[in-house]
């Protein structure tokens, strides 16, 4: 059997919140447990979508780097062209972080050199990124 991890996490969260928490005696434990239940739901979403969201970010950042190529160092270009070593979340995260650091530097250069179009395309990416990663499982 291959478990559907996100679905399993949501079921466990539901069981925690609806069946186990009401039996707890302390208000502190109930509040703590309810927060843990909500976080498990957010982790379920991340398990289902997290890698794809990061891959979408990476693809979009690479398009921005093509537009801003003249502002990148040779070291930046090496990092950008490196292949993803695996689809494990940790490896995808590492590449995402490395590219985000280059994006921050590029963003600053667009401000210093007043390259408005590229600057605005980075802001637009940050808005799409933020929307893509928006946590909806916790009210």
């Amino acid at each position: 059997m291959i478990p559907h991890t996100d679905g399993a996490l949501r079921m466990l969260s539901q069981r925690l919140m609806t069946q186990l928490l009401p039996d707890l005696k302390s208000l502190y434990s109930m509040s703590d447990g309810a927060l843990i239940g909500l976080l498990i739901n957010a982790i379920a979403d991340e398990t289902a979508e997290g890698i794809q969201r990061r891959l979408d970010d990476i693809a979009e950042m690479k398009l921005i780097f093509i537009a801003g190529e003249a502002l990148l160092s040779s070291r930046d270009k090496e990092v950008i062209s490196a292949e993803l070593s695996s689809y494990r979340l940790a490896d995808v995260n590492d590449q995402h972080d490395a590219l985000t650091r280059i994006l921050i530097s590029l963003h600053q250069k667009t401000e210093d050199k007043e390259i408005e179009a590229l600057n605005q395309s980075i802001w637009a990416y940050l808005r799409r990124h933020s929307q893509r990663h928006k946590i909806t499982a916790v009210p």
Partner: protein, 337 residues
Amino acid sequence: MITTDQVKIAAAQYLAEKWDTPVTVSDVEKIFGGASRETYKLTLEVDGETRGVILRRDPPSSLIDTERHLEYGAYDRIYPTDIPVPEPLFLENSTDFLEQPFSIMAAIENPMSDVAPLSEEQKQKIGKQKYNLLGCLAAKDPLALKFDEIMTVPDIASTAREQLAYWQGVINDDEIHPQPIAQAAIRWLAANLPPPAQKISIVHGDYRTGNFLFNDQAQITAILDWEMCHLGDPLEDLAWSLDPLWSGEDLELAGRLIPHGQAIQIWCEASGLSCNEQALKWWRIFVSVKAVAIWISSSENFEQGEGKDSILAMAGWVMTDRQNRILLDYFSPEVMS
């Protein structure tokens, strides 16, 4: 990890020594949400009377890296004034009693902090008091209250720059992942510093709905959580209180209570200060950056295993997400143009 039974025994022994009379702790309850300190409500029997106290114990890790003596010192200096705070009783710096330092304050009778169930009339009443008290705090002379004995007095012209440098440092030191939105905001803040503060005031540092108590008559009875108290530009507190993070669904209301314009007007009248629109805009963006710093700091604590409370994970992940979206709204083309 310490149990409530350990707290009960140690607190009874400690208070009996301090008051030189037998003390029985008849009830102890750990309070959820005290992210910077573990918080317990204790019911005591002393000399035939029942009284409540709040014990705040340093955890191995907290949301806010603060010095406990600053917080206790702030309570101590504010308590005699017209700003309501719980009476500070003891500050214990040793680890002999509860393995960590702790402080004890008098408990407030019948406390309420959730404004959601209140009527519109009650929200108006509390909102007016909230901003009147904040204005009164801004008007006070920190030197007359001897705040300079417990914290640095910043230069009036550089307090904004110093605050920005401090919280930028927290982000750089504690970030687990790079923060492109906060970094862009920091660059904007550095390039657009506000005019010098009108005066150096006592800044509560976390003045928001949820950090004060009120009674069933909708009277504010205590302002809590002074752990981020410092001296600086009074607009910082006003800006923090107006942050959309505290507004819930209704972004028009400051802290889910009264409209922003009304809040600002009450604050100006009570403080005798003006509210420069550009300066307030700077401080509103600044407090969002400061909030990101606090949230990612808690995230770092959680990831490093220094703190295991679910609220640290919640702050580090969910609140960073929300705060970044707030910052993005500030930098949207419509707003910036």
